[in-house]
């Protein structure tokens, strides 16, 4: 039974304590008042979906299955940007979809308070398949926090999430995905966005906890004139984590722009593959790709693969990639200001995982800053 509107669950606090606590680590507030709308998908089904009273004429939030029934037109958006047959994961997701959310920001509405959604696995070896559709209607603006997590002891669980974003004319959407999986989880997000005239899509990805195997390569199609896509990732991998994370922007509209920035830290035996891909069909475009990696320990691996495919005179694309260890000179500079070696190292790592690349409002920025501080202190 779906909670929130008319179901049993009155508040997210009614979820098991362990779930609430873990969800908080991926930015999910159990006090719904701090969010304009909240959605919670636990294992195989949605358990909570609620739009706060003040936002009912600004946003719509529904379970995807319910939404597809309610809005016939939504079929036009379902599996529109991602091919069902792309790989075994998309195929499985199309055949076994359990739920997911439909979020719509109504035309012209500026929603300052973030919407939140959580995809949560609590069952042992559970395979979760969800499908989300997000539509920012013309002239709208919103922030979405999307947290995904598992409780401990879920074993070799699997999460496959399909997300399709439609960023309409003159709208602006900032989507921040925060992951916190158990070290045995396999994760396959499949995301794509289309960005129309004068619209902007900011997609942030934060993963600071171990995962068994993660592979994702979201793409933004900047179809509109003056459309903008901005991907930023903060990744920290330790233990035996394997993360293959990329971002792709296809610049099709005149004067469209894209920026892909990533910061990756690999420790122990962890591997991070940091991909970036910028390409264009329209020659009047601009793109920049930047990936920086930091290696800690002798066995850690970072493979940076930045790609540019520029077609036509006038296309302006650049990339920079740098992978290395923490510079001793930086450590000793800070030590000369009185920090111990450990304190200096922690500060440099915290600085490396620079939250300012995410372009978040101050409340969300300090939330993620707290997470990166915990990582840097733990090293």
């Amino acid at each position: 039974m779906l909670g929130g509107e008319d179901g049993k669950m009155k508040t997210l606090k009614d979820l098991p304590k362990e779930v609430v606590k873990t969800a908080a680590n991926v930015g999910i507030e159990d006090t719904e008042e701090k969010r304009s709308a909240s959605f919670f998908h636990l294992d195989e089904a949605a358990v909570f979906s609620k739009v706060m009273e003040d936002y009912k004429d600004k946003v719509e939030l529904l379970d995807i299955k319910e939404a597809l029934k309610k809005h016939i037109w939504l079929k036009e958006y379902y599996w529109k940007l991602i091919d069902k047959n792309k790989d075994e994961y998309t195929k499985n997701a199309s055949e076994n979809v359990m739920g997911g959310y439909f979020m719509r920001i109504f035309a012209g509405q500026k929603v300052e308070v973030p919407l939140q959604s959580c995809m949560f696995i609590s069952k042992l070896r559970f395979k979760q398949y969800v499908h989300n559709i997000i539509i920012a209607e013309e002239g709208s603006e919103a922030q979405i926090i999307s947290g995904c997590a598992t409780t401990e002891g879920t074993g070799s669980a699997e999460h496959v999430g399909i997300s399709e974003f439609f960023i309409k004319k003159d709208s602006k959407l900032t989507f921040t995905m925060i992951h916190n999986w158990s070290p045995q989880t396999t994760v396959r997000p499949r995301s794509a966005a289309v960005v129309e005239d004068n619209a902007s899509f900011v997609s942030n990805y934060v993963i600071l906890k171990p995962v068994k195997d993660l592979q994702t390569y979201p793409a933004a199609h900047c179809k509109g004139k003056n459309s903008v896509a901005r991907f930023s990732s903060l990744m920290y991998a330790e233990g035996n984590s394997y993360m293959d994370v990329g971002s792709r922007a296809i610049l099709e509209g005149e004067n469209s722009k894209a920026e892909i920035i990533s910061r990756a830290i690999a420790k122990d035996n962890a591997t991070i593959i940091s991909r970036g891909d910028l390409r264009n069909t329209n020659p009047k475009v601009k793109g920049h790709l930047e990936c920086r990696g930091l290696l800690i320990g002798k066995e850690s691996t970072i493979h940076a693969i930045p790609e540019l495919l520029a077609i036509g005179e006038g296309s302006d694309m650049s990339h920079e990639a740098a992978v290395g260890k923490i510079a001793e000179k930086e450590i000793f500079y800070l030590m000369s200001r009185g920090l111990t070696k450990d304190e200096a190292t922690a500060l440099i790592i915290r600085g490396f995982l620079d939250t300012s690349i995410l372009h978040l409002p101050s409340e969300l920025d300090s939330m993620i800053k707290n997470m990166t501080e915990k990582v840097s202190e733990g090293l």
Binding site: R337, G338, R350, G351, F352
Partner: protein, 249 residues
């Protein structure tokens, strides 16, 4: 007069190459001491060795600070004892903001604010607009030097090691830096060891003593204006020859 710094018979190697040999310097409390010498003579190495940077290996001799032997202490221990170093080419650190470093220098936690007096000093150094920028990254020469000296003043050190505070700096920044250092030294009875080539910063600093470092060792102790004039007229070599002559007598 009590000494703040005593360098006794100090020999230093970098990558097994002898860089400094049998160095002796004494700096009194409240004194500003100037270090002259051509490029590559070992001036920066001496400051780095006093600050305790790894790679500057002390093979012989000792460094005493405020009466205590600090030869084996780490960089941060020396900083906390009261030695502050202003680098010639300050290190940039991506993601670490100028404000973060200023707070460290002022002994503040990251969630604490600078005091009103400290904020006034930031304003005076005209660095407010750079507070949220990555420290030293893409700063101009003047901005770097102002940020560097401001950091030192917030640390309130007993001894300032200043490596060419007057190089790459515009005249206004130079005056500000020079005047503020002099004011700080006077007010706190602090001391300073200053490297300068042209001596521009000496227009603002009341330096009493100076020496010349050449071929890894020190050759002359005298008033800064006397030495600077000699170097200008006759060059470093002549300075050394004259000193050796005096010593022989």
């Amino acid at each position: 007069m009590p000494k703040i710094l005593e360098v006794k018979n100090l020999s230093v190697e970098i990558n097994k190459r002898k860089t400094l040999e049998a160095i002796n310097i004494e700096i009194e409390k409240g004194q500003i001491y100037v270090l002259f010498g051509p490029n590559g003579s070992g001036k920066t190495s001496l400051l780095m060795a006093i600050m305790g940077f790894p790679g500057y290996k002390v093979k012989e001799g000792n460094i005493f600070f405020d009466g205590n032997d600090i030869t084996r202490k780490t960089v941060d221990e020396r900083a906390r004892l009261g030695i502050g170093m202003g680098f010639q080419l300050p290190q940039d650190i991506r993601g670490v903001k100028l404000i973060d470093v200023l707070k460290i220098c002022a002994g503040k936690k990251s969630n604490e604010e600078l005091s009103p007096e400290e904020k006034t000093l930031v304003e005076k150094f005209d660095l407010t607009y750079l507070l949220d920028r990555d420290v030293n990254l893409d700063f101009s020469g003047g901005e770097k030097k102002r940020a560097e000296i401001l950091q030192l003043l917030l640390m309130k050190p007993k001894l300032l090691l200043l490596d060419e505070p007057d190089s790459g700096v515009d005249l206004e920044s130079l005056r500000l830096i020079g005047e503020e250092i002099q004011k700080y030294v006077e007010k706190n009875k602090a001391s300073a060891l200053v490297i300068t080539h042209q001596g521009y910063v000496l227009e603002y600093l009341k330096a009493e003593r100076a020496c010349v470092l050449l071929d890894s060792t020190i050759h002359c102790h005298n008033k800064p204006e006397v030495i600077l004039e000699d170097i200008r007229r006759r060059g470093y070599r002549e300075c050394v020859r004259c000193w050796e002559g005096k010593m022989a007598k």
